[in-house]
């Protein structure tokens, strides 16, 4: 075989031509990918590295000079009560939104799939908040939660409760914001669960029925839930990641108030950087924010990997 190939065509020129072709392909490839590569560095990776570098300085917006101060920013942050409050608030918010929106999203998806009538109406109704502009809807919620004319309090009074100024009361402000966040997140989780439910083969339910699994609860426990398991882990994590980035409703509705009761991490960063102009301090906060989100994302990537192997 080899001798035939060598005999018919001289070896050297072939490999020379090959190398030239490979060089050409590499050149073309870089011409195609180059702009994206350049912009990726310039607009995302570079600035992210810059944030980390900036967090090691004492630079203020507009200042002409700065000093390297190592981890002092972080030391200051970790010694600051208001940072811990902001972090705690963020986690409380995530802790309310994630289980509620995942649980309700799953329940709604199960109920929608359990019947055939009005499926697309329900799907659209529950998804509508996801497709709408959160800022605008936050303002609508502010009106709904208005202490005197808001629909929530009017209804509460009609039922004999006194109601409260939800967004000005330090006890209720965070749950109220979390309620808005949940309202907005349910639809996406529902759709993800619906996709998960659709991918469960019908045969499995038939086999289970023959094997003696015949109550709705047993069907859920023996087939639906184990088949949905990896998907639900994934839904929990992306909901956590998304709700961790809570900013819009806080900035518009409460400005972190009253008295810091709704101060969350991204809002602290925004205020440090763009109100107090303490750029380096804000950068250090950003590094902490980034670390948490990246950790969650890595966990999520692992879960996705596992799901692929699931067969």
């Amino acid at each position: 075989m080899a001798s035939v190939a060598q005999g018919s065509v001289p070896r050297q020129p072939v490999s020379e031509a090959h190398r030239a072709a490979a060089r050409m392909e590499a050149f073309v490839a870089w011409a195609l990918a180059g702009p994206a590569f350049f912009l990726l560095i310039l607009l995302l990776l570079g600035p992210t590295v810059a944030v980390v570098v900036m967090s090691l300085t004492d630079w203020l917006f507009g200042a002409t000079s700065f000093n390297w101060i190592g981890l002092e920013n972080f030391a200051a942050i970790f010694g600051d009560r208001s940072f811990w409050r902001s972090l705690r608030n963020t986690f409380v918010y995530v802790g309310i939104v994630t289980p509620l929106s995942v649980g309700i999203g799953l329940g709604v998806a199960l109920l929608i799939e359990a019947g055939t009538s009005l499926r697309s109406f329900y799907r659209a109704a529950y998804f509508l908040p996801v497709a709408s502009t959160l800022i605008a809807m936050s303002i609508v919620w502010e009106f709904l939660l208005h202490p005197t004319v808001g629909a929530v309090n009017v209804m509460a009074r009609a039922l004999g409760f006194s109601g409260t100024h939800w967004l000005q009361n330090p006890d209720t402000v965070l749950p109220a914001l979390a309620l808005i966040g949940t309202w907005q997140a349910i639809g996406l989780n529902m759709v993800l669960f619906l996709a998960g439910l659709k991918s469960i083969p019908r045969d499995l339910y038939d086999a289970a029925a023959i094997d003696g699994v015949d109550s709705a609860w047993e069907r859920f426990r023996r087939v639906t839930w184990p088949m949905l398991g990896p998907a639900s882990m994934f839904v929990v994590l992306i909901t956590a990641i998304r709700s961790f980035q809570i900013f819009d409703s806080v900035q518009v509705l409460t400005q972190g108030g009253p008295a810091g009761a709704s101060e969350v991490l991204l809002f602290s960063i925004y205020r440090e950087a763009f109100s107090y102009l303490r750029a380096a301090h804000a950068a250090a906060l950003t590094v902490i924010f980034l670390a948490i989100v990246v950790t969650l994302t890595l966990v999520q990537a692992r879960v996705m990997d596992r799901r692929v192997h699931y067969g």
Binding site: D203, A208, A209, I210, D211, G212, D214, V223, P226
Partner: protein
């Protein structure tokens, strides 16, 4: 072992009538195959027997019990699915255990952790484990018990699916195209294994397939379904030799039966492409079809009298036999099965004569119904 009685079962899906009144009595321990082209309603019928689908009319009985209102669990049937439908998140052991766990343990004993401490759980779990071991042994999957289905080959999954059906010794096994996801070689092997399994278990088997070869090789009786109706139910040999309907004749047998047009003559004989053949007495001019199997035609030297004449268009050597494709001089093609040694005497493009075996002619009327010699007369007399 139990009888399965199917009485006038009907089923609609929207405007489509998939079962148009099907009746069939299956004997205890019998292996019956429902065979037909896809969409003929055979899988729907099987699902109705299992209780996975509800019929619009008619009734199903298993043993002597009418099971129409019963859930699948209460019918004491097991089913093997085309996709195997193994639970992917359970090990093979857990897959095999589920049917027993669901039947023998009550709701409290089944609880994930607390169930273990309920009285009796331990003993029942132990017997379940022993039975699983026994079935796994019989199917040669004992070494796979701790794997998950994704880690098994197609053939191994097939065995696990069979095992899950076997563990609880049901009266009736239902099988929905269980071999169609296997490659051709494995399919032939599993065919034999399932037939053997049937003999060993002695249970009633209802088997659904679109593959006539599977139906012919495994069953005691074959039920041919088309368009939502049972056309003929008979043992394989009889189905092949004495089909009641042209569609059955064409569906059963490979290579396919030859079908030739024919016209009844005044003198009682039937004219088929210029050859007068003995057949049923029909009114002169009536149009008929002649069905004749490839082995019921003999290839003889060109020019022989009382024969069809044509040229050899194509020749297939299949090892144990050879197939001649003969283009008839008038119109149409006839397939002839010959001994491979004799095939050497024929050359493509040469003329050849064909002589039908007059004892193996199958006549069908214009509607495709079988007409036996003299049969039509009796019918007329009765009407």
């Amino acid at each position: 072992m139990a009888t399965v009685g199917i009485r006038d079962v009907r089923k609609h899906f929207g405007p489509v009538e998939v079962l148009k009144g099907v009746s069939l009595a299956i004997e205890p321990g019998e292996f019956v195959t429902l065979v037909g082209p896809s969409g003929c309603g055979k899988s729907t019928l099987l699902r109705i027997i299992a209780g996975l689908e509800r019929q619009d009319a008619g009734s199903i009985s298993i043993g002597d019990v009418v099971v129409d209102g019963y859930r699948p669990k209460a019918r004491d049937v097991a089913m093997v699915f085309q996709s195997y439908a193994l639970y992917p998140y359970m090990t093979v052991r857990e897959n095999l255990a589920l049917p027993l766990v669901m039947r023998r343990l009550d709701r409290w004993q089944r609880l994930p952790l607390a169930g273990r401490f309920m009285p009796g759980t331990r003993e029942i779990r132990a017997t379940i484990a022993a039975e699983i071991a026994q079935v796994a042994e019989a199917l040669e999957i004992a070494h796979l018990l701790d794997r998950k289905p994704a880690q098994l080959s197609g053939g191994q999954r097939q065995r696990v699916a069979l095992g899950r059906a076997m563990v609880r010794h049901p009266q009736v096994f239902l099988m929905d195209e269980p071999l169609s996801n296997l490659d051709a070689k494995l399919r032939v092997q599993m065919r034999a294994e399932i037939a053997e399994l049937h003999r060993r278990l002695g249970a009633t088997f209802v088997y659904v397939t679109h593959d006539q070869a599977e139906a012919m090789t495994m069953s005691d009786r074959v039920a041919v379904m088309m368009g939502g109706e049972l056309i003929q139910v008979a043992p394989p040999r009889q189905l092949y030799a004495e089909p009641d309907d042209l569609r059955v004749a064409e569906f059963i047998g490979s290579p396919k039966i030859n079908v030739l047009p024919a016209v009844a003559r005044g003198d009682g004989a039937i004219d088929c492409l210029g050859l007068a053949l003995p057949g049923p007495r029909e009114t002169p001019g009536a149009r008929l079809s002649l069905g004749i199997r490839p082995e019921a035609v003999a290839a003889v030297p060109a020019g022989t009298r009382e024969c069809w004449h044509g040229t050899l268009a194509h020749l297939e050597h299949l090892g144990a036999e050879a197939l001649l494709h003969v283009a008839l001089d008038g119109a149409g093609r006839v397939l002839v099965r010959v001994d491979p040694d004799r095939a050497a005497g024929f050359a493509i493009g040469n003329p050849v004569a064909l002589r039908p075996d007059q004892a193996r002619l199958l006549w069908f009327d214009a509607n495709g119904a079988r007409v036996r010699p003299g049969g039509r007369l009796r019918e007329v007399a009765r009407g």
